[in-house]
Symmetry: C2
Subunit: 123 residues, 2 copies
């Protein structure tokens, strides 16, 4: 693992936001680290492939990167906000229904977040 990849992993693990590649790039720039977008992407690929960070594809928006500790996501259909939610691990019960071995699963629950639903009531 390169020094850059390690720094990026640390940023992701220290953040409670779900950062995009670009946000990670600018955070490093702020810390006056000399790095390019290509290296950010290279490092993120390496980290994902090795199960050290989790990529969260965002349907129309830039991918976000997340810590690996198992949890699920709530996505606001209005503003796109991504929120963590900890439901119990369903791997075992899903495996009963699926013949091939399950590697992981991704559960995204679609909702309207509090802010957006206030906004809607206002209009």
């Amino acid at each position: 693992m390169t020094k850059n990849a390690e720094m990026i992993m640390n940023i992701i693990n220290a953040s409670y936001d779900h950062l995009t590649a670009e946000q990670i790039y600018f955070q490093l720039k702020n810390e006056t680290v000399k790095i390019s977008m290509a290296t950010v992407y290279n490092s993120l690929s390496y980290l994902c492939e090795n199960g050290l960070v989790r990529k969260v594809p965002m349907d129309g928006f830039a991918d976000r990167y997340d810590r690996v500790k198992r949890h699920d996501h709530l996505v606001c259909k209005r503003c796109g906000k991504l929120m963590d939610i900890s439901l119990r691990d369903m791997t075992a019960s899903l495996q009963k229904e699926v013949k091939v071995p399950i590697l992981s699963y991704d559960l995204k629950i679609s909702c309207i977040c509090d802010e957006c639903s206030k906004e809607e009531r206002r209009n």
Copy 2:
């Protein structure tokens, strides 16, 4: 609903594949329908917004479009193949865990499909 949107909805409902916008476009072309990609995208947006078809974002690949009848998906991590699977509807039990109203959810189970796992054994 325009005639084009209706044709596109019918194609999606008649297909057991998960078609991309481009595949839909070429299928219409084959049936000698005069249509452009822009219209395919316009129609698909309309159909999605009105809950008549379901968009399945594909992490790195073109979005696929699917019938709306509730079901879940199995995705091969190796080749990207998308397969249908019918698990019971979890909305009610998820709703107990989530404060805001759940609009829908998207469950993607990641696996290595039979072909790919044969392939792997061969190598």
